[in-house]
């Protein structure tokens, strides 16, 4: 695009304005969390950062959130991905219905799912266990639209029918064909879909709060009620952590298109 001075000026202005909008709160978090708080403090300090590890429920909550994220990952790898591949390969008539099903969560806000899941949740916690199974189960449904989109984009880019037949004629069983040939081929789609899933799990508050699970976000809110600055420092820390992670991972090209859900 032409870089006339007018374009440049506009560009600078927009970047400046939006940049400010986004950066000011982030900066404020930093400022707020390092402000002198107790009378004993003399100036800026990292106290609210240093006491992060000693926050009572935080460690467990992080662990719990990670475990839940792990369960969701397993569900993705062992249930969702194989199903999407299977339908693509063997059940072409089900491709559209599956797509529609995977897009359904977009029409159902999290708060609504919680309303509907209450009886099932009660049954599970009474008869099975208190563990975050329900949570993981619901989460895996919530991420469906994004994960499905990632997967189907990756599947479209490769001729999996020919690959599947080639593997078959060479002697591969169905299991080996899917796990050893097809899944590696759509590796980036799986990784992208998983990233989003993990982000969602770690950032989720609505369902875990109402169902009374002490996940990461719920505990941050809890901390916020007593020590505001620690809550702020924890939040900022997690943002920075994820940001660094994302920057280190090699940029995959169509990540932006992942949220583009297509019903056409």
């Amino acid at each position: 695009m032409k870089r006339t001075w007018k374009v440049q000026a506009w560009r600078r202005f927009i970047i400046g304005f939006v940049g400010l909008y986004l950066m000011v709160p982030l900066y404020s978090m930093f400022d707020f969390s390092t402000k002198p708080f107790l009378i004993a403090d003399s100036g800026r300090n990292l106290r609210s950062w240093r006491i992060i590890p000693s926050q009572p429920d935080l460690g467990i909550a992080v662990l719990r959130s990670m475990i839940t994220a792990g369960i969701v990952m397993l569900l993705i790898l062992f249930m969702i991905v194989p199903t999407v591949i299977w339908v693509q390969l063997k059940l072409p008539k089900l491709v559209r219905p599956l797509e529609l099903l995977c897009l359904l969560p977009l029409a159902i806000p999290a708060i609504v799912i919680v309303v509907g899941i209450a009886p099932l949740y009660r049954w599970i916690s009474i008869n099975l266990s208190e563990s975050p199974i329900t949570l993981a189960g619901v989460y895996s449904m919530l991420i469906l639209p994004y994960t499905y989109r990632s997967l189907s984009a990756a599947l479209d880019a490769v001729d999996i029918h020919t690959l599947a037949e080639a593997a078959q004629t060479l002697g591969a069983s169905t299991f080996r064909m899917i796990s050893g040939v097809i899944m590696p081929t759509i590796r980036t789609g799986i990784i992208n879909g998983s990233f989003i899933a993990i982000a969602l799990v770690l950032g989720e508050f609505t369902i875990s709060n109402i169902l009374n699970f002490k996940t990461f976000q719920v505990v941050i809110a809890q901390i916020g009620r007593t020590s505001g600055n620690v809550a702020v420092s924890v939040s900022l820390a997690s943002i920075i952590f994820v940001l660094v992670l994302l920057l280190l991972v090699p940029a995959t090209k169509r990540r932006a298109a992942v949220l583009d859900v297509d019903l056409a």
Binding site: T162, E165, A167, T169, L170, G171, A172, R176, P184, T185
Partner: protein, 331 residues
């Protein structure tokens, strides 16, 4: 509509049979049925005395080369070739596998590309790796599904010779499917021409060419000149000659003789009744389009050495070699 209709085919050990025909004729269906990728409603398949009709594709031990995009993109050429062996890991050691894949990459001339990924290879190279991969498992039958169709013309001719060479060296029974008749004729031991799910004729290339048994085969394989004439007593009079009529032709009445361009003799003559319309130099041979006295046009073909003086506009005399010819009915 049936994809395959009453097809019966026997392939001898070590033979390369080509299935030739237009798209939709069922040749690919036949191949895929043999591979186990397609089910037969009726019929039987026997390999080496064993009935494999109901066997799963992954147990048949056939090597298949697809038209395109069949190499596993996340594996190198070497890993692709070893894949079939890896699946049989309990039978071979890593050493042996490496050895075998090197052997095969050598046979297809790609030993230096062992560590390249498919996207780093050209189309022709990819198909060679696919061939090596299929051969690595020492298949009972090698199946080739239009393996050259997606390649450039020059690569096509090169690669088909190589496929034939390798097949002869290894003695692998092979079924080769194509719609390119030149391809089929040049490398196969026998060629089967298919149409609408049926096998019209299966014979050695020369016989298919010189003695087609149906009009379709005559016209599909090689060029023909349709020349009207009257059939009686087993022969037809055209172009000043009386030619024997091939079995399968009409037996009496007016018909259309399908005459090969090489059978047309052209002689320059100032008193000639025909005139050359255009002359095409094809390198080793020369093709002439000739307008006959009655206004119809035919194509003649001859070695370039014999075409001196035969240029556009020249008047010529046309005659025909005494070879049996197929005569089809009027439409």
């Amino acid at each position: 509509m049936k994809a395959l209709d009453g097809l019966s085919l026997d392939i001898a050990q070590g033979e390369l049979v080509a299935l030739l025909g237009p798209s939709g004729c069922g040749k690919t269906t036949a191949l895929r049925s043999l591979a186990g990728l397609q089910e037969l409603d009726r019929g039987q398949m026997v390999v080496d005395g064993k009935d494999i009709t109901f066997q799963n594709a992954n147990k048949r031990g056939m090597g298949m080369v697809f038209q395109a995009y069949s190499l596993f993109p996340h594996m190198t050429a070497g890993e692709n070739v070893e894949y079939g062996l890896k699946l049989r890991a309990h039978k071979t050691s890593t050493e042996k596998r490496k050895q075998r894949s090197s052997e095969l990459l050598e046979i297809v001339g790609l030993s230096t590309h062992r560590n390249h990924y498919p996207h780093q290879l050209s189309g022709g190279q990819q198909q060679r790796v696919a061939l090596a991969r299929a051969l690595a498992i020492s298949p009972k039958v090698l199946l080739l599904d239009e393996p050259l169709s997606a390649l450039d013309a020059k690569v096509r001719t090169q690669l088909r010779e190589e496929i034939r060479r390798i097949q002869l060296e290894l003695g692998t029974t092979t079924l080769f499917v194509t719609h390119d008749q030149e391809e089929a004729l040049s490398i196969a031991d026998r060629v089967g021409v298919m149409r609408n799910g049926q096998l019209e004729q299966i014979a050695v290339p020369a016989e298919l060419y010189d003695r087609p048994s149906t009009a379709f085969v005559a016209e599909f394989v090689g060029l023909t000149n349709p020349i009207h004439g009257n059939v009686s007593g087993g022969s037809i009079d055209i172009l000043g000659g009386s030619l024997q009529v091939l079995p399968g032709s009409i037996t009496s009445g007016t018909g259309i003789a399908l005459v090969r361009p090489e059978s047309i003799q052209v002689e320059a003559s100032t008193s000639g009744k025909s005139r050359i319309f255009s002359a095409s130099f094809l390198g080793a041979s020369c093709r002439l389009m000739i307008t006959l006295a009655d206004g119809s046009r035919i194509t003649a073909q001859m070695p370039s050495s014999e075409s001196i003086g035969l240029i556009a506009g020249a008047t010529v005399n046309v005659s025909v070699l005494d070879m049996p010819v197929f005569v089809k009915a009027l439409p």
